[in-house]
């Protein structure tokens, strides 16, 4: 038994000294083969002697006393008296069978168990104990309910958070679409005079001040630029090694600077980024669903593009698009 279940036994060892002591006694004979190391033995002996030597508190003693009493009270004498009990033998001679009751066989109410003992420990009135128990139970039930309610809240919150994150993702996607389409339109308007030299993002950063970008996707641009700034700062710091990026070396001439990539002023965008943008803040305070809705409507109105169909319709009517919302497109 004990050998089958070593983890629990070990767990007890760590938790309860008393239990541990008891366990050792039981376990010993069942595991004779496993050799105890010196340390183990020493530990065990120490624990055992501690358990033996410790003076038990009054409460512990009372609890033990009560436990011994309860144990004795709940064990039938017929089950426990292994060796032939003379009393039982005499009764058997009179025709008694364990499990039966005494008296006339017609007496169906005859009891087979002794009456239990109930110790009254205080002057509490009749029903006080059960009333206390009832209150305790109610309280416990209340606690369970509260925990459950909280559990429900948590689930709801997580669900909401997920939904928000999903919507936020779609807002991002819609912003990108809007930006791209807007960019394409601007390029078309410019007649493709400015062939792209660098990648689009870089170009945009340098071309437009934030305030002039449509509020609907300004957030996207701003985030991108912030990211770019951070990247550059890290890069500069890395490149300059021990030097601060703002350090002007007098010995470097213009060519040196170009060669070292220092020709651009590192903080070109800083002012722009650091400026307060109450318009953007106001927009961001809206629910993501609402922002998404604005973007979707913008794309439809401006470009006849349905974000959900992922299709640019030829005219304003947008024939074939099932509706304005995501659900319509399910």
């Amino acid at each position: 038994m004990a050998a089958q279940d070593p983890p629990t036994a070990n767990g007890d060892v760590e938790e309860e000294e008393e239990d541990d002591y008891m366990n050792m006694i039981i376990e010993e004979p069942s595991k004779p083969k496993e050799k105890e190391t010196y340390t183990q033995r020493r530990m065990r002996i120490q624990r055992e002697s501690e358990a033996l030597g410790r003076v038990k508190s009054k409460a512990e003693k009372a609890a033990e006393e009560a436990a011994a009493r309860e144990a004795a009270l709940s064990t039938s004498l017929f089950g426990t008296t292994s060796q032939a009990n003379k009393g039982l033998a005499m009764m058997a001679k009179m025709g008694f069978k364990p499990g039966a009751a005494l008296g006339s066989k017609d007496n169906v109410d005859a009891r087979t168990e002794p009456i239990g003992l109930n110790m009254k420990e205080d002057r509490g009135g009749v029903g006080l104990d059960s009333e206390k128990k009832r209150k305790f139970r109610e309280q416990a039930e209340g606690e369970v309910k509260r925990v459950k309610a909280e559990e429900g809240d948590y689930r709801e919150r997580v669900r909401r958070e997920r939904e928000e994150a999903r919507l936020e993702g779609m807002v991002g996607a819609a912003m990108r679409v809007a930006e791209r389409m807007d960019g394409e339109r601007e390029e078309e308007a410019a007649g493709g005079q400015q062939p792209s030299q660098e990648d689009g993002t870089r170009r945009k950063i340098s071309t437009k001040p934030l305030k002039q970008i449509n509020i609907l996707w300004r957030g996207l641009v701003r985030r991108r630029e912030e990211k770019e700034r951070d990247r550059r700062m890290r890069y500069d710091l890395h490149q300059s090694l021990s030097r601060l990026p703002t350090y002007e070396d007098d010995t470097e001439d213009k060519d040196d600077k170009r060669a070292l990539g220092k020709d651009k002023t590192p903080y070109m965008l800083v002012e722009d980024l650091e400026e307060e943008d109450p318009e953007l803040d106001e927009l961001n305070a809206l629910e993501p669903g609402e922002r998404l809705h604005k973007l979707v409507m913008f794309l439809r109105d401006e470009f006849n593009y349905c974000f959900w169909c992922k299709f640019t319709y030829p005219d304003k009517e947008m024939e074939g698009c099932p509706g304005l919302t995501e659900e319509d497109h399910d």
Binding site: S74, S76, G87, M94, A101, P114, L117, R123, G124, V126
Partner: protein, 758 residues
């Protein structure tokens, strides 16, 4: 009054043989009266008014005429004026209206169940109704009426003797454990149920009696339960025997069913409606709530006395003091009426018990608020004592009840919730004189859910060792199938048989041994009886006899709350270092000394001892001594100068109480009981220090802590020597006690070997 029971029993038996067998009963002066009746009365149709009565064919009218005199129908003496006065009130009792109905039913059946509420007059009247119909004096028989309590047997017998205008101990007598007040002319005997059972041991068919009335059967005492089982069998063997089971509660169907559907006669009591009040919330402290309620009744309710039920002597005395204090203050400050508080419990001296019948105090000044009396009692006020004038009952819902559990072999008194039946009974006490009120200090829901229907009968709450011995002596061999109304748990019987076997009262076949037969002669627990019987072997039977008597009476030491220290100092004067038994013996010897006997009352008062307990111990000792002499047990003492004097007594103690031994555990104060392995402490009242390894105890007291009370130190060698079958060491469970006993065994062996070697 000394007990004349055993002698009287012997005498009356002998006499009966004489009257029946010899031809000239007139030579016996005690039988002169009988003789007179025999020759003049019955057959010749002569002088008494009963002579022409036909047995079991009489009518209420005939009896009515006979009762009207002018001569006493039973002894033909002129009736006194007092008699006629009482007769008038008797005829107003509820039972009287149904006399004819009773007689008709009595004639038609062998066993009758009679239900009458308290106050119906059944205890006093029914036996008299029977006398006029059964006419036992014409057949040299008696009518017996059993009572669960000694006091009731005595007081009812006195009352009925007055009603019949005879002297107590003549036509009407009583017989209780240590007192027999009957004579050769006795035709109606009130007795405790235990006494009738003792008589049945020698006379299995109860041939002395023509009618047996078991009164207060609803109380379901151990003896009543066994008597019912016995009577059920006797009824088959003796068709001429009439049996009446009287009960105060309406749970009579159970009795009817048990007695093969015996007919039932119910007489309404004289009761008034009682309004019952519950508390809205359970009480935190029932004693405090009870005091509050009593004082509130006194302050706000109209005239009428109060009965409060509490659980024990100490609680009651304490409550009485507090109520009186508070009430005195109410009188001073709020002009409340005067209040008198009386305690009432079993061990209270009779004179003090009598005080509860005093009328309530008069108003302090004419026209002032009426006085009130408050009785604070145990559940003896529930059924057995009738106190008129009670209008308010306060019921906290608890009583002290004996419990026994065979699994830990503990018989103890525990405070437990009462039953619904009990609660109803208590409430009924308020409606004796006029409509009353009962204040239950628990909620209605608690009444419905927490209280059991009926109180468990005593047989389910007792150690049955004594009962088994009695049953064996009653000739009942099949204890397993003995038809009891509520058979106890089989384990209880097993324990009892086992204990009796260890005490050598029963052999392995379950038959009574010589020792068992002898032990059953003593009205004692088997352990005490065996100790007493084996005491001559230890040369101390005189001392053990005293000790047995002391253990059979209430506590001899008095320890009033007001003078605890002084009481303890006085007790220390008698203390013996080896234990409480020896200390009690010292007390008894001092009590019997010249100094104490000169003025026992004063001496006891000075030494904080109970005179009543000591006197009753003295009385019990006399009784037991007679039985010992009759059984040819030698009375002897070890000379006091002999250093073995006390050792012998302690060894004799072991001979009876070897199953009540505890051994000290390790270094602490706790002890562990042998075989049952229960942790116990020595009761604080002990004189014994905690340095005794092994102790015998008289009593296991179950509270939140387990105590053993009345302890004396013993040597383990004695246990092995005196009770070898019980102390069969190899059969002991592994543990400290076994190890200790094994060491003792080895020591004994070594000693023997050394002696043998020499």
């Amino acid at each position: 009054m000394t007990d004349r029971r055993p002698e009287e029993l012997e005498m009356s038996r002998a006499k009966r043989v004489k009257t029946a067998g010899e031809l000239d009963p007139s030579t016996n002066p005690y039988l002169a009266h009988h003789y007179e009746q025999d020759s003049n009365g019955y057959s010749n149709g002569g002088e008494t008014s009963l002579s022409h009565f036909k047995r079991h064919k009489t009518t209420a009218e005939q009896a009515h005429v006979a009762e009207d005199g002018p001569n006493n129908p039973f002894n033909n003496r002129p009736l006194s004026s007092q008699y006629f006065g009482i007769l008038k009130t008797r005829r107003d009792l509820p039972v009287h209206k149904q006399r004819q109905e009773f007689l008709d039913m009595f004639h038609s059946t062998q066993i009758l169940v009679f239900v009458g509420e308290t106050g119906s007059g059944k205890t006093t009247q029914i036996p008299q109704f029977v006398l006029f119909d059964d006419l036992p004096h014409f057949n040299k028989k008696l009518v017996a009426c059993t009572q669960p309590r000694r006091v009731a047997a005595m007081s009812v017998a006195q009352r009925v003797a007055n009603e019949m205008d005879v002297k107590l101990g003549e036509e009407v007598g009583y017989s209780i454990r240590f007192e027999d007040v009957t004579g050769p002319s006795t035709i109606l005997k009130y007795m405790t149920d235990g006494m009738l059972l003792r008589e049945a041991m020698h006379d299995h068919d109860l041939t002395r009696y023509s009618c047996i009335i078991l009164d207060e059967a609803h109380e379901r005492t151990l003896s009543t339960d066994i008597l019912m089982g016995l009577l059920k069998e006797v009824a088959l063997r003796r068709p001429d025997l009439k049996i009446i089971i009287m009960s105060a509660t309406l749970d009579a169907q159970k009795f009817q069913r048990y007695f093969n559907d015996a007919p039932l006669l119910a007489v309404p009591g004289r009761t008034h409606p009682v309004e019952i009040f519950y508390t809205p919330e359970p009480e935190r402290d029932y004693v405090e709530a009870a005091l509050r309620t009593v004082l509130q009744i006194h302050a706000t309710e109209p005239e009428g006395d109060v009965l409060l039920f509490l659980t024990g002597e100490e609680e009651i005395e304490d409550a009485c003091r507090k109520i009186q204090l508070e009430a005195d203050e109410m009188i001073r400050e709020a002009d409340a009426g005067p209040l008198k508080v009386y305690p009432l419990y079993g061990t209270l001296p009779p004179a003090q018990q009598q005080k509860i019948f005093d009328p309530a105090p008069q108003p302090i000044r004419p026209g002032g608020r009426p006085g009130r009396k408050v009785i604070v009692g145990t559940n003896i006020a529930e059924t057995s004592l009738t106190i008129d004038g009670i209008v308010y009952v306060v019921d906290p819902g608890f009583s002290k009840q004996k419990v026994y559990n065979p699994r830990i072999r503990v018989e103890s008194l525990l405070v437990s919730p009462i039953s619904k039946a009990s609660a109803q009974q208590r409430a009924g006490r308020a409606g004796r004189t006029r409509p009353g009120k009962c204040f239950r200090l628990y909620t209605e829901a608690a009444f419905k859910k927490e209280l059991i229907e009926q109180t468990y009968p005593e047989i389910l709450r007792s150690n049955l060792a004594n009962t088994v011995l009695e049953l064996k002596k009653l000739g009942i061999d099949d204890l397993v199938h003995f038809d009891l109304m509520d058979p106890p748990a089989p384990e209880t019987l097993m324990r009892a048989l086992e204990e009796l076997n260890y005490l050598a009262c029963l052999d392995d076949d379950g038959d009574l041994t010589a020792l068992g037969k002898l032990a059953s002669e003593f009205p004692l627990d088997p352990a005490l009886a065996v100790m007493l019987i084996s005491s001559p072997e230890f040369y101390c039977s005189n001392e053990i006899l005293s000790l047995t008597a002391l253990l059979s009476v209430p506590q001899v030491f008095v320890r009033p709350a007001s003078a605890r220290k002084r009481a303890d100092e006085m007790k220390a004067l008698f203390a013996h270092p080896d234990g409480d038994h020896l200390t009690m013996l010292n007390v008894y010897h001092a009590f019997k000394g010249q100094e104490a006997q000169d003025d026992p009352r004063k001496w006891c008062h000075e030494h904080f001892l109970s005179l009543r307990a000591l006197q009753s111990a003295d009385n019990v000792r006399q009784q037991l001594k007679r039985i010992m002499e009759k059984s040819e047990l030698d009375l002897m003492s070890t000379p006091f100068e002999n250093k073995e004097y006390y050792t012998n007594i302690r060894r004799a103690l072991v001979a009876g109480f070897f199953m009540q031994v505890a051994k000290k555990e390790g270094t602490g104060k706790t002890y562990k009981t042998v075989k049952d392995d229960q942790s116990v402490l020595l009761h604080p009242s002990t004189v014994l220090g905690t340095d005794s390894e092994w102790v015998v105890y008289n009593e296991f007291v179950l509270t939140t802590k387990n105590y053993v009370r009345t302890v004396t130190s013993v040597k383990p060698e004695w246990l092995l020597d005196i009770a070898p079958t019980y102390y069969d060491v190899p059969s002991f469970p592994k543990g400290e006690i076994k190890t200790a006993l094994q060491r003792v065994e080895e020591k004994i062996k070594r000693k023997k070997a050394m002696k043998g070697g020499r």
